[in-house]
């Protein structure tokens, strides 16, 4: 496909450029850590679960992707390494993604998944790595929302998600333009199955467990 990117490779190459080591040599080796479980477990009983629970699972899935993007853009803006049109894009798009997070959390209420901890490993501080990763993120978000749309049970919720989906596509075109790529590489955008999206997100290794800064040892401060 003309100017399609492999999002997983694009992101890891961007991160590698910043870390200046090969993939195998990166300090942070992928390990089995805590899992973020979205939604219920797939059992026969769960398969008959209410449409409400199904829609909740879709919302939480969307929320994780929005967290990933909003934290990315927010950190990029705060670290101040971007300039000019790229900085402006990060400001505007970041504000959108933060609003998506807020709106999704508001409708999910207590069942909203918590924001994970992220480690962008310098990608937010290097303009070209940022740019290439943003291209991958936005294309990924479009494909993820698109794949979920036919599964949404509530018509009203579908309307909301479609209105987010198209804005992500605007973001994608915009950042592609800034990256010197075709804003619309193809006549049709394809959906990406959830397992594939999750694998790509895992491959980035941007989601990390929070550092353990709490303890139970008796203090030995000066007192």
């Amino acid at each position: 496909m003309l100017d399609q990117i492999d999002p997983s490779r694009a992101i890891s190459e961007a991160a590698d450029r910043v870390a200046r080591t090969t993939r195998g040599g990166l300090l942070k080796q992928a390990g089995v850590g805590a899992a973020i479980l979205l939604g219920g477990v797939c059992t026969p009983a769960a398969a008959a679960a209410t449409s409400q629970k199904q829609d909740q699972a879709i919302l939480n899935y969307a929320l994780v992707l929005e967290y990933l993007q909003s934290s990315f853009y927010t950190e990029a803006e705060r670290m101040g390494a971007l300039k000019g049109a790229l900085a402006r894009q990060a400001e505007v798009v970041g504000a959108h993604e933060r609003e998506h997070v807020r709106a999704l959390r508001a409708v999910l209420g207590p069942v909203a998944i918590a924001r994970p901890r992220f480690d962008y490993r310098g990608v937010t501080e290097d303009p070209s790595a940022f740019r290439d990763t943003a291209v991958a993120f936005e294309d990924l978000a479009v494909a993820a929302y698109k794949e979920q749309a036919p599964r949404v049970q509530s018509k009203e919720l579908l309307a909301s998600l479609l209105s987010i989906h198209s804005v992500e596509a605007r973001h994608a075109a915009w950042i592609r333009y800034l990256a010197g790529r075709l804003p619309a590489p193809d006549a049709f955008d394809d959906p990406l199955p959830r397992r594939r999206v999750v694998a790509i997100v895992e491959d980035t290794r941007f989601i990390v467990a929070p550092a353990k800064t709490s303890g139970k040892k008796p203090p030995r401060f000066t007192g």
């Binding site: 942070k28 080796q29 992928a30 850590g33 973020i36 479980l37 979205l38 219920g40 477990v41 797939c42 026969p44 398969a47 449409s51 829609d55 699972a57 879709i58 919302l59 899935y61 959108h96 609003e99 998506h100 508001a106 409708v107 999910l108 994970p116 480690d119 479009v142 698109k146 749309a149 036919p150 599964r151 509530s154 018509k155 009203e156 919720l157 309307a159 479609l162 209105s163 987010i164 198209s166 804005v167 992500e168 596509a169 605007r170 973001h171 994608a172 075109a173 915009w174 333009y177 804003p183 619309a184 193809d186 006549a187 394809d190 959830r194 397992r195 999750v198 989601i207 990390v208 467990a209």
Partner: protein, 216 residues
Amino acid sequence: MAEQVTVEVVSENACADDDTSRHPRRVEILERAVVAGGALLAGGVLITGLPRLATSAPSAKQDAEILNFALLIEQLQVAFYAESLMHGRLRGQWRQFAQVVAGHERAHRQFVESALGSKARKAPRFRFGEATSDPGKFSAAAVALEDTALAAYNGQGPNLTASALGAAARIVSVEARHAAWARVLAGQNPAPQAVDPPATEAEATAALKRRGLLDG
């Protein structure tokens, strides 16, 4: 060493991941939920107590009506870009934009035509005036056209059956890319809002008429 986190997205949907046909028809669930009287989603701010709109249930027949509307929009876009390129006044990035987008819209038109088969409407005669011959007017018209096409698709998306929606969704994001691209070239904010508002059929056609892109 940072502990890595695996993201597992497991949900009830995972049980029937690739089979959308097994999902109950959306509107039935919706109506059951509303009759039950509560909010549609737990913990949410939601649509409690609003008057029920007599929106029609998704159906193959309604799909055809909606797709014919989409077809009109695609026909309009094909004609608009073809005529603009024919006048030969576009230069540089606008010309590249028109060439690429023209190809996409032709593909969209063909796709929707095939989906409709014998039900496909005939294209009306389009008269675009200077919107296709004057580069300045072209850029404003292109922005409006793509923004409107997008809003129209978003407006009808929820009314489609699941399979038609899957198809339409592959088009709508491309229209959004076109809209953003045109806006960048026009020096405007490519994504002026956090979410794209939908348009009714009447609103979309009215907007196109106001722009002189549709007769009426």
